[in-house]
């Protein structure tokens, strides 16, 4: 059981209210949230310090224009924020930030985290085409009815980790029939409780892990199985890999948007991969022909070995891929395999060490020959 703040307004208004309260009371000096940037349904993350600007905040808007965790890392890479800031991000964005902090790419200091039980986000394409407003009522209806929201990102539809692990405050959305006029705000940490102290509302006890949440987790698990079966990753083999990654145009957009791909001097983008003529000659002698640009399969599997262990399944990589390669699904699947090996869940706990940075003396003897 945890402490719950109940506000008799719609979930969206309640979060707005909460953010306003935090900023107005001076408990926080800044708000990191999604904000409308025009009337076409375009939203972007913003760091807001003025109450006036907060009016355009749409903290629960079902779109992820960039992984918020990556953005928070950019904001704090050179030093932590000096004064308290509240950040409203989705569970996978929070997990991504935790993974980046483990890699010394950001700082948690002075942040208060608000997240929600998450119904997922739509692919960016829907917002770029200006069609997202038509989708909103469908989104909230499905959330209330505890159904998987149609047309959201494939990795959202099959995401099991839609309950935030490290948020101070969690907005309960999944399966909550009354979110049109009531909102339950779970105060998971003492910090969360302290920050809302003094706000208008009713305080009760509640359980976040509701029946609806359990049933949604099962639905997502089934969906994940379906998705994996559809794409048949384990049956790829050499042929499947070439078919799948042969479509890659080599833009490396997937790595640019990936929160976990943080190196700014990526090996794959380096001159190392600009081969000297003799390399092409050797390859051509043997192969009789070479796809240009080369190395798309190697780039992808390379990224899988580097990033898979910490992939949070946010889905951005697939979203931006101009060749429509289901990259996020492939990363989710390979991620599952390698994360299981080490009993590791990216972003669950900032103290949990990244598996490749630690070891046990007695393990994996089966890979030795």
């Amino acid at each position: 059981m945890s402490k719950v703040l109940k506000i008799n307004k719609s979930a969206e208004e309640s979060v707005q209210e909460l953010l306003k309260f935090l900023l107005k009371s001076g408990k926080v000096k800044g708000v990191f949230t999604l904000r409308k940037i025009n009337d076409n349904g375009a939203v972007a993350y913003s760091l807001v310090t003025s109450l006036d600007m907060l009016k355009d905040a749409v903290p629960l808007f079902p779109l992820m224009p960039a992984n918020g965790g990556k953005l928070l890392s950019r904001l704090t890479l050179r030093g932590s924020v000096a004064e308290p800031v509240v950040a409203v991000v989705r569970p996978c964005e929070l997990r991504a930030f935790i993974e980046l902090v483990k890699r010394k790419q950001g700082s948690l200091e002075n942040f208060l985290f608000i997240s929600s039980t998450c119904s997922g986000v739509y692919p960016l394409e829907i917002s770029v085409n200006g069609n997202i407003d038509k989708k909103l009522s469908q989104y909230w209806d499905a959330t209330k009815r505890n159904e998987i929201v149609p047309d959201t990102r494939p990795t959202c539809k099959s995401c099991e980790h839609f309950l935030p692990y490290t948020a101070d405050i969690t907005i309960a959305l999944i399966g909550k029939k009354d979110i049109g006029n009531k909102c339950e705000i779970f105060l998971n940490t003492e910090k969360g409780q302290k920050f809302v102290d003094g706000i208008d509302g009713e305080f009760v006890e509640g359980k976040l892990e509701s029946e609806e949440v359990v049933s949604m987790r099962n639905k997502r698990k089934d969906e994940k199985k379906k998705l994996f079966d559809e794409i048949g990753i384990e049956k790829f083999g050499l042929k499947g890999l070439i078919e799948t990654f042969g479509k890659c145009i080599g833009c490396h957009g997937c790595s640019k948007v990936c929160p976990i791909c943080y190196c700014n001097l990526c090996y794959s983008d380096s001159q190392t991969y600009e081969h000297k003529p003799f390399v092409y000659e050797i390859e051509l002698k043997r192969r009789g022909g070479l796809r240009v640009p080369p190395d798309t399969v190697s780039y992808q599997i390379g990224r899988l070995t580097h990033v898979g262990i910490s992939c949070v399944g946010c889905g951005l990589c697939a979203d931006v891929c101009p060749a429509n390669i289901p990259i996020s699904t492939i990363f989710l699947k390979v991620g599952d395999s390698v994360q299981k090996m080490f009993d590791y869940l990216p972003g669950r706990d900032v103290e949990e060490q990244i598996p490749v940075t630690t070891f046990k003396t007695e393990e994996f003897v089966e890979v030795e020959d």
Binding site: I233, K235, I242, G288, V338
Partner: protein
């Protein structure tokens, strides 16, 4: 007469143990197949899985990563990290439906010339049975 398939194996050998063992095998004139192209690294932990993968995709018939026995690493714990990364790479490869048979991790101490001979011979035999790496003929990798 058909030429017998002569595998090409890339070997990442740690300087302090396996490379020394290779030297010893040489100076002891131990016979073994000429299949191994050696790349000397300071420690098995230097071998980023991506390097193994590159060799594999560029068409190496086999890739061997070899270093000091656990507990003996010159840098104390490098080979424990190497083992984790190798296990991770294998899992990635297998999840994609590829065979990881062509990749091998072995511990060969500096004084183990005969073991070096044995590992190279046996791995070469295994690769011979598997045949040429099919990646060699692909135009898109």
């Amino acid at each position: 007469m058909k030429d017998e398939f002569a595998p090409k194996i890339v070997g990442f050998l740690c300087n302090w143990c396996t490379y020394a063992a290779a030297d010893l095998a040489g100076t002891s004139k131990l016979k073994m197949p000429p299949s191994l192209a050696v790349i000397r690294v300071m420690c098995s932990s230097r071998v980023d899985p991506v390097l193994v993968l590159r060799a594999f995709l560029r068409g190496a018939d086999g890739v061997l990563v070899a270093g000091c026995h656990p507990g003996d690493c010159h840098y104390e714990k490098g080979n424990y990290y190497a083992r984790r990364r190798f296990a991770l790479l294998k899992s990635v490869i297998e999840t994609l439906g590829l065979d990881s048979e062509r990749l091998q991790l072995s511990w060969i101490g500096a004084s183990e010339g005969p073991r070096f001979q044995q590992v190279v011979t046996e791995f070469t035999d295994k690769i011979k049975k598997l045949g040429q790496n099919p990646m060699q003929k692909k135009t898109s990798l």
